[in-house]
């Protein structure tokens, strides 16, 4: 990084010394500055993730100082990760939606509906009679279907994402309450419980799911046509359309993806709590959007980062854990969360300004 900045300075110095009437020099300087700019951007996103890592380490240090061994234990680390994994899976999906120029406020409600639908008496009976995997199918299908409804309304109905998903937020939770008759549903299918509460070499299965989803999300985002089109659709929908991308279809797919992630997260939460409930995932949308935004994804679309989102999720999960270990109530946590979001966004804007003026 330091080498690059020296390089850039060198270019600038040469530029001022040489009379700029010499076209050849100017072109070379311009080419160099181009390379410098590219490097600067790369170091920008790298630097941003580095900043998040530093923030995470600071929170960990605070945890060690205030809670000592209660914080720095394997058990506690797994608790943090287990907690992070549910939010994390949804956040990966949300990163795609936000980068694609949208927003989904209904993730918490969709999660609740999935959890309830997958644990109704009928579903569990069927699952008990045949195979617990029925519950998995139900949750994923319900989540994807909700996403499909959101996506179709937004892409083809031209209802703005904020309103569409706000309506879904109300409707999906209401439906969850109707189905469950506002009662918490206990999971009785042992196969399901056994499968999700298992661990591999001491790592809980839930954490493994989060890890797999993160890696798959990273590949999908950075290495596939789907990811590239998401950037194009979010960055300039009109240009994407005129370049021949089916913007409407892509938008639908983005919301189906986040809906699917909600279904998966619902299964994880159901197994963690061994219940399905219409109150699951209340205010999840706030935690998820906050994690995505502090990770460095632009709310206006066109730029996003999966690694940043994962770090954002871990920061909030760890922070919550440190507060809990210090017997601070959730209200204090909420205030701290608010402050962190604002600070992160302010820093981000600074970085963005530097990047564009280069």
């Amino acid at each position: 990084m330091s080498e690059q900045s020296t390089n850039r300075q060198g270019g600038a110095v040469e530029n001022t010394v040489t009379p700029s009437t010499d076209t050849v020099t100017v072109e070379r300087a311009a080419a160099e500055s181009g390379r410098g700019g590219g490097g600067g951007l790369m170091s920008g996103s790298f630097g941003r993730n580095l900043g998040l890592v530093v923030a995470l380490l600071l929170i960990c240090a605070a945890g060690v100082i205030t809670a000592g061994d209660r914080f720095a234990s394997i058990d506690n680390t797994l608790t943090i990760l287990r907690f992070a994994s549910t939010i994390g899976v949804v956040s990966i999906g949300m990163t795609f939606v936000i980068t694609g120029g949208g927003i989904d406020l209904s993730v918490g409600a969709i999660l609740a509906l999935c959890s309830v639908w997958a644990t109704t008496f009928a579903t569990q009976t069927m699952a008990g009679d045949t195979h617990w995997v029925i519950m998995v199918f139900v949750a994923l299908a319900v989540g994807s279907a909700c996403g499909l409804v959101n996506g179709v309304l937004i892409a083809y109905g031209k209802v703005v994402p904020f309103i569409t998903t706000l309506a879904m937020l109300a409707a999906a939770r209401g439906l969850a309450e109707i189905i469950s008759e506002r009662r918490t549903q206990i999971v009785t299918v042992d196969g399901f419980k056994d499968f999700f509460s298992a661990d591999v070499l001491g790592v809980p299965f839930l954490v493994i799911i989060f890890a797999v989803v993160s890696v798959a999300g990273w590949i999908l985002f950075n290495r596939t046509t789907f990811g590239r089109r998401t950037l194009a659709v979010g960055g300039n929908p009109e240009a994407a359309r005129l370049a021949g991308i089916n913007v409407n279809r892509h938008t639908v797919l983005l919301y189906v993806l986040v809906g699917f992630c909600c279904g998966l997260a619902a299964l994880m939460l159901v197994s963690r709590t061994t219940t399905g409930s219409s109150t699951h995932g209340t205010l999840l949308e706030l935690d998820v959007i906050a994690a995505v935004v502090i990770g460095g994804t632009l709310l206006t679309g066109g730029r996003g980062t999966i690694a940043g989102t994962v770090l954002g999720v871990l920061i909030f999960a760890t922070l919550g854990n440190v507060f809990t270990l210090n017997n601070q109530d959730t209200s204090t946590q909420a205030v701290a969360k608010g402050v962190i979001i604002i600070v992160a966004v302010l820093l981000q804007q600074r970085l963005a300004r530097n990047a564009t003026s280069t």
Partner: protein, 503 residues
């Protein structure tokens, strides 16, 4: 006090990280003159304007206002001196009314209550002074035509006590009649002692309106204070480009014999309320030009046959097969490509790398099971970019950082890489400097020679006549003339274009 020029800029230097945007600019503007600022894209004109309007602070240099040094530290100080800028991209609030926009920031009010009547009266006065009293003062600006919006911007500048008016390519969105009106307004202003800094690519306009010229190149002043009537055009081009070039069009191909089936065939195309009954057929290797005024429906015709708008009647066939109505993917699949009019907002992903912009329509080719082969992408797009001489070289640069001409080349590279049968070009050289224009013309011709059917839309009649084999003249949504480009001249086209207006 009146002896000193209104504005003097000396040795203005502005650096951005890694780039020297201005490397010592000299400019002197006298009260009551129209001072033209010439230069290719990337020469530093925009940066200079931003220094003048105090959006940017210069790193070195001195600015004198009536002989006194001033520091233009905030946009407000520039406004207080009487410097108003009308930018190329208009900065109006679309949902506010004409009157509200004009007095935005300096609303007329008594004790905090806005003076509605007075505001409307003054707005009507200003519009009348600009010769556009037909613009309703209460209509929201978003519903006005681009030309009318520009008049509103001018009215806004005049609503303050303007002594120096900066116009950044004002004629880009105007047709000939509106340009004439603009010139009339400018002359009125200068007789009142207002100084105007006029920026345009069009040399013939500068001849009409300008008094003196300053030429910028690569961020420096190469000539300043040239008298317009004593400087030949060739001299100006030489100063701007550093080499002597003519406004050259490539030679047409072999005489187009009407052989072979048309690649693009449009019959009875209609977009209700915009254009109707458009028939068009283009053979491989042929360039067809559409001439007409802004608002005649030229761009809409292109967008409709590209599938970006759904026609109310008519069919589009490519190589004999009818395209699905209103579907861009269908058109692209059939081998149609469009370089849209608004390059930045419709054509490019400004914050993405050059290579991503080039491959965006061919992603399928670089992926296996959805996984992108980024190296192949870079390699292929670098080859295409190099063949088009996109500068600076290297495809990892953000498109935002390129000049207009190079951005246009990136759009063309996209379709070149895809290999299209039909290429639709909407204002292919808008915002492109003289040097890059010739390159783009040559490129379009060589594409045609390789068998592509090309349709070009342009506001510049000279461009349509010079580039196309066959010309269609569009007036008020109808094709009023069709014939070989060699059999019609500029004045005849203008007659055809204007006829409806006279009647």
């Amino acid at each position: 006090m009146n002896d000193a020029p209104l504005l003097t800029m000396r040795g203005i230097v502005k650096r951005f990280p890694g780039v020297l945007a201005l490397g010592g600019v000299e400019l002197e503007v006298r009260a009551g003159e129209v001072h033209c600022l010439l230069g290719q894209n990337g020469a530093g004109k925009s940066t200079l304007i931003k220094v003048l309007s105090a959006s940017y602070q210069p790193d070195e240099g001195q600015i004198l206002w009536e002989g006194e040094p001033v520091a233009l530290s905030t946009p407000q100080t520039a406004m207080d001196l009487g410097i108003s800028t009308i930018y190329q991209e208009l900065d109006l609030v679309p949902d506010l009314s004409v009157a509200e926009n004009i007095f935005l920031g300096h609303e007329l009010s008594t004790a905090g209550f806005s003076q509605r009547g007075e505001t409307l009266r003054r707005t009507r006065d200003l519009l009348a002074r600009l010769g556009h009293s037909e613009i309703p003062a209460t209509r929201s600006v978003g519903r006005l035509s681009p030309a009318a919006q520009q008049i509103v911007s001018m009215a806004r500048a005049l609503s303050q006590d303007t002594r120096l008016l900066i116009l950044d390519e004002p004629s880009a969105v105007l047709d000939q009649g509106e340009v004439n009106n603009l010139f009339r307004v400018i002359r009125d202003l200068t007789t009142e002692g207002v100084a105007v800094v006029y920026i345009s690519h069009r040399l013939e306009e500068i001849r009409q309106i300008g008094d003196r010229i300053t030429v910028l190149k690569d961020g420096s002043t190469v000539a300043t204070g040239l008298a317009v009537d004593q400087t030949p055009t060739s001299e100006l081009i030489k100063l701007m480009t550093g080499r002597s070039i003519e406004y050259v069009f490539p030679p047409r191909g072999e005489v187009v014999e009407p052989t072979g089936d048309p690649v693009l065939e449009v019959t009875g195309l209609e977009l209700a309320g915009v254009f109707t009954g458009v028939d068009l057929s283009v053979r491989a290797g042929e360039i067809v030009g559409l001439a007409g005024l802004v608002g005649a429906g030229r761009s809409e015709i292109l967008e409709t046959l590209y599938g970006a708008r759904r026609p109310s009647a008519g069919t589009v066939r490519v190589a004999g097969r009818e395209l699905r109505r209103g579907s861009v993917p269908a058109a692209v699949k059939a081998g149609v490509g469009l370089a849209p009019e608004e390059r930045k907002s419709q054509g490019l992903l400004l914050d993405q790398a050059i290579y991503a912009n080039i491959t965006v329509s061919t992603l399928g080719r670089f992926s296996r099971f959805g996984l992108l082969d980024s190296r192949a992408e870079r390699k292929r797009s670098a080859e295409v970019a190099e063949s088009l001489d996109v500068r600076p070289a290297g495809v990892d640069r953000l498109v935002r950082l390129l000049s207009g001409g190079n951005q246009q080349k990136v759009v063309l590279a996209r379709w070149l890489l895809r290999g299209c049968r039909v290429l639709l070009l909407d204002e292919p050289t808008r915002g492109v400097d003289v040097g890059a224009r010739a390159e783009i013309y040559a490129l379009v011709r060589s594409l045609a020679d390789s068998g592509v059917a090309v349709v070009v839309v342009s506001s510049e009649v000279e461009e349509v006549l010079g580039l196309a084999d066959r010309v269609l003249v569009v007036r008020e949504g109808r094709v009023v003339h069709e014939g070989p480009a060699g059999e019609i001249d500029e004045s005849r086209v203008l007659d055809l274009v204007m006829e409806g207006k006279v009647a």
